[in-house]
Point group: C2
Chain length 375, copies 2
């Protein structure tokens, strides 16, 4: 128990130096109890039992639908479990996964590494980067007609790199589509707390599925979350979880077996992930300062995003959708013909040419859209 | 810098409560400086620059041959980088890697998962689980004659699950073999500090190779280490590194690219790994207590191992090699014919049958040898 004890001791000692000392010490004691009083207190491969209980309770409270702690696997951030699930789905180069474009390279690069077939579906910039159901169907049918076994669909909500938040109707369409077509839905929900518009609220894909009365037997769904990407942004901590639902027990055993290959995830990340899913409540002494800090960070993000979008839309040849969530905006830049010709002369993609010139002339760093598969 | 700052703050506050407060606070400040004063202080994908410098200096001092910090990748324990390097070596089912038998399932299971060809070589129990060079050559030639592209060789020293420590002559033979046959040498050296016999000292495979005057251009070698497996045994912290040498710059770029897919490893594990490779020296106030604790733990391990081997060798039908290192012994149990027949009747491997009966009758847990590929 050395690893856990040190962490909790640190928290306790830290607590002495804090005006919320008692509250922190109580929380630390609570974590220590969760870790030490359960059988198998050496971290299990799928994560410490007590912390998985806390996270499951947090998900239950978030969704209003029950979450089973046995469905939770604690992970070193979100990349390893995403790769693990894609690895499990892909048998050979004829297996494919539907991935959004533009998409985080986490997905597209791994598909290349795995030698699998990436089946792209294109997010609709003209409708705030929503998913066009007709395109989804078209891409699936197209891939199948070429002999590709499409096994799953990746959805990133709130969007990375687009900063959009899907409307509920769109989410319901995706759930229905995956159910009907027998696709595993891989839901990247790491920006679930970063939403900037008043009329949009985060709804997990599991909440959507359950509210449509689709249960375990109807749809296979994996939700990913991490401590790197919310308003907390603890990138270096590598805490994360995946919630694995709708697989039969034989498949679940294989998921467990593959997860075990890499041993447990780091215990401080596990504790931090449990704190994210179990924040102070109104009864806690720390609630007011927690709310003030959280709201302050989110307000800053939101104001920056708004200022950025405003400024971008004032530029000639540039348009940008409203930033709804996550921490990105993905503007469209229409380059003059001469710039395109100059890029071609240098044997460079026009957007890479633009990004480099922008950096050289203004010091502003942007990532070329082609990195995300967007042309 | 939030993730690092919290860690170092914890150390600082902890330091106040410790009689070695000043020494700990200085070390914490030193780590904080390493992390914060370098460019790119957000953890790089391959690990924090300053901590990689510290680890490279530790390796240089351990081996007496220079280590370049650019060859160090900080990792979440040793399993992810081992799998990553095996993943990079394996293109399809015709690619193979030489793995020792008995071997940790980390290797054998991943080969199965990857659909690659495991080329076994058998450790020689009659010579303290050393590597028989003639068997190595026989297995390699046999695999090649079947059209397998053998790309690498795994060696675990000190041995898991055998508890042996290779003699230098054997290590030199393995290095020469890999160099001559063009194999990447994957050296699992996670038990490097757990050696229990006076006349054997840990020598890294890089030290051996360099002392044979084989440089970067002669042999591709990856050494793995972690904070889980030494006398420190911080399993839940998931700190580790790999040292990647002897690859050309194009290949190195690909290693970096694949490492980047999973973002950085957890920062507390990174810090802990740097502490393992940079322990207190004789000038430090904490040196005496550090030495006492370290030697005490290792002495306990060593005494337990000796008592275990003695007891095993007194049992009828059981023989066990001397425990030289790591934390394992791997006894040979000759089962009576009746036990084998009883196992067959239950459609169970004899060793699994024995292990279960031992557990039921005595409460003693052993792992059946067949789990490690040993029959």
């Amino acid at each position: 128990m050395a690893p856990c004890a040190l962490t909790v001791d640190s928290l306790k000692v830290l607590a002495l130096a804090d005006h919320l000392g008692d509250a922190i010490a109580r929380r630390a004691q609570c974590i220590q109890n969760e870790i030490e009083t359960k059988p198998g207190s050496h971290p299990l491969d799928e994560g410490t039992e007590g912390l998985r209980d806390v996270i499951a309770a947090g998900i239950t409270s978030r969704d209003g639908f029950p979450c089973n702690a046995e469905d939770i696997f604690l992970t070193d951030g979100s990349a390893p479990p995403i790769h693990m699930m894609m690895h499990l789905l892909i048998r050979d180069e004829k297996d494919g996964i539907l991935c959004p474009i533009p998409s985080h390279s986490l997905y597209t690069s791994f598909m290349v590494l795995q030698g699998a077939t990436l089946v792209p579906y294109y997010l609709d910039e003209s409708r705030g980067w929503g998913v066009r159901m007709s395109d989804l169907k078209k891409q699936l049918d197209g891939a199948r007609s070429k002999g590709v076994n499409v096994r799953g669909l990746v959805v990133i909500n709130p969007g990375n790199p687009t900063g959009h938040v899907l409307v509920e109707e769109n989410q319901r369409g995706i759930v229905e589509f995956c159910r009907k077509e027998g696709l595993v839905l891989l839901a990247d929900e790491v920006y679930q707390e970063n939403i900037y518009i008043a009329d949009r609220k985060f709804k997990s894909f599991k909440k959507i599925a359950r509210s449509m009365e689709f249960g375990e037997g109807d749809i296979s769904l994996v939700s990913f979350h991490s401590v790197s990407n919310g308003y907390y942004g603890e990138c270096g901590r590598r805490g994360g979880y995946m919630e694995v639902t709708g697989f039969n027990s034989e498949v679940k055993k294989q998921v467990y077996k593959v997860a075990s290959l890499s041993s447990c995830s780091n215990i401080s990340g596990q504790i931090l992930m449990s704190l994210v899913m179990n924040p102070p409540t109104v009864e806690d002494e720390s609630y007011t300062s927690y709310q003030a800090e959280r709201n302050g960070i989110l307000l800053t993000f939101s104001r920056c995003a708004e200022a950025m979008v405003c400024a971008l839309n004032r530029l000639e040849g540039v348009t940008c959708c409203k930033a709804e969530g996550a921490i990105f905006v993905f503007p469209s830049v229409r380059l003059p013909k001469k710039a395109i010709a100059a890029a071609e002369e240098q044997n460079t993609e026009p957007d890479v040419f633009y990004a480099l010139r922008l950096l050289e002339n203004t010091g502003i760093v942007v990532v070329p859209g082609s990195v995300f598969g967007q042309l």
